[in-house]
Symmetry: C2
Subunit: 363 residues, 2 copies
């Protein structure tokens, strides 16, 4: 059932695995287009449940629930990359799952992902697999220091990472990440972090949004700015890389590629840091600053509908509202030219993404 050329009729139902803010914004985009969504999520408080009529609250391993979910929908997509492989495989036997589950297998593991990118002749930071303290010491010998040790699986927002400045810190770092299978990467003294959001259709059509510049605080995205302050040739190169990765996956939907911009001698170059096989926080600005949003592009692709050509409305800045920053929503509502998005989450825990605001300025 990996029929990537599905073409949905208006009124058809898209199943979404995951009920966070990304699933919520996907469902809202589908609603504009006259498509229904059915959200599957284990969390009874999932914010996406509030914006759809059909929901399944069940574990990703609950085969009865998955079976009924598949019956109720026409095509299935996901809002996050850690969908269990068994869940994706079970569903893919019953309905088209887009992007195809092999993308999940590649991107759920940092080592597989980095190897995949390197095999496309796309540059990354030097990296090595690490399975033991001895292996870590050997790898540090090859790639040098400072370096970053990261678990191969289930890391996000800086979780499962440890910086190693000196060789003496290696043992501590190995413990800090829980002694899980890992990857060690050379620390990249980047000038800036950028991302490219690309949408790809089953026929190979690709539409990229303009290159985004990202600012993180405490390993969490805080501000995205568009366009990124990089030379045009470098922006074009970044988009080419995203297209190359999307084509190599035979990707259907929206994908984000995070990259570092580094200076080498007198020139700048980009290194791929991470692939997110989904809509991405750094693309939220498209909801207000562009003629089409990343969420609508993903829905169009998954529905087998033509992609739109994005036209940006100006210089755009997106600011995440993290934890109790959301309490200031009233100030943002009153700020001229500011679009406010709140995700309908219940508790403003530290580090939790509660909403975002977008500001569009004339260019």
């Amino acid at each position: 059932m990996s029929d990537s050329a599905t073409r949905l009729a208006p009124g058809a139902t898209i199943g979404i695995l995951g009920g966070g803010q990304l699933g919520r914004m996907l469902a809202l985009a589908a609603a504009r287009l006259g498509l229904k969504c059915h959200v599957f999520c284990p969390d009874p408080q999932a914010p996406a449940f509030d914006v759809v009529r059909r929901t399944t609250q069940a574990d990703y391993g609950d085969e009865n629930a998955l079976d009924r979910f598949a019956e109720a929908v026409d095509v299935i997509t996901y809002e996050f990359e850690n969908v269990p492989a068994e869940t994706a495989a079970f569903l893919a036997e019953r309905r088209p799952v887009l992007p195809n589950p092999s993308v999940l297998a590649t991107t759920q593991d940092r080592l597989t992902e980095k190897t995949f990118v390197a095999n496309l002749d796309v540059r990354t930071a030097p990296f090595a697999a690490v399975d033991s303290p001895a292996g870590l010491a050997a790898a540090l010998g090859r790639i040098g220091r400072p370096a970053v040790l990261k678990t191969r699986r289930f890391g996000y927002d800086g979780k499962g990472q440890a910086l190693i400045r000196e060789t003496t810190e290696a043992a501590q770092a190995w413990k800090a990440i829980g002694a899980h299978p890992a990857i060690v990467e050379a620390f990249v003294p980047f000038e800036r972090e950028i991302s490219v959001i690309a949408a790809r259709q089953h026929d190979g059509q690709v539409e990229c949004f303009d290159v985004i510049e990202n600012e993180h605080r405490d390993h969490i995205l805080k501000v995205s700015r568009v366009p990124a302050n990089v030379p045009a040739a470098l922006a074009a190169e970044a988009r080419r890389i995203a297209e190359k990765i999307a084509a190599a996956f035979d990707y259907v939907g929206v994908l984000a590629v995070e990259m570092f911009v580094v200076r080498e001698a007198s020139a700048h170059t980009v290194l791929v840091n991470e692939i997110a096989p989904r809509v991405h926080n750094s693309g939220h600005w498209t909801l207000d600053g562009c003629s089409v949003s990343q969420f609508e592009q993903h829905i169009r692709a998954v529905a087998g509908w033509p992609l739109a050509t994005p036209v940006r409305y100006g210089r755009v800045e997106m600011i995440n509202l993290i934890g109790d920053e959301v309490a200031n929503y009233g100030r943002w509502l009153a700020m001229p030219g500011t679009a406010v998005h709140l995700y309908g989450k219940n508790g403003a825990r530290p580090g939790r993404k509660m909403g975002h605001v977008t500001r569009v300025f004339p260019e």
Copy 2:
């Protein structure tokens, strides 16, 4: 419970009476802001049901259902002006109903509405009440011909209207509108039709969108263009009229005023044709062509949140997809710079509004 200064917290629930495309787009706007909606509608196929978690499918006279609905929500609004007066009164005893139900009483009756407008020293076409064939003959004698006979209540999209060119057509017209209590209006040889969408907050703050020019076909809105091709002074006058009407109602929410532009000697003037106490088809362009939509402005007002100041992104054209025109959605999806909205309705009956498209052009 007519507390117009309610201020909702994020996560609060807005009850919406009516489940058509306007209710649907209101619910989508509320979702962006982290507010929940509960839709009440007698129609089991209501398109707004698909985009909210909480729904009530019941008759507007079902007091048990209304009671439970009121219990479940924090504030109540409506997507259409023909909410029965008894329904509004029943709910207003339990929760704030915004805009306040007295607005419904005025705008449900063309005679009361026109009288209300005339009492504000705002011009309309000459009109007279008609309750019998004899009364119609007398009224035609006073206001002249051609004239339009309209039922006082429940008319929309040209339904319940008859044009009278010659006195001999009067009896036929009276029959055609069903011999209901009516109003007869002088036919206005207008140059163009315009509308103003105004949002008003409980503290009196008003934000108008730019004046819209409307083109009807078979009495149904077909195309809206912004800005309207009218002199700046006339546009300002049109906005002043909308503000005056909103203030006179002590209105909270979005209201549309339809007007005719007529030439008198060498000058242009505007005559008010109709008030819609709700979001309006001619304001759909704001979803894509403006920094804030009419739907979000309405939700902000009803929530007691500050209004946004609208910034238009260019010259905008909105085209309704009526009846089987919706079958062409694929062509519109592929057209660069075009935003497509489908309402998720089941049958494309003739005259039924199935969706709309918006195109934004640089100014």
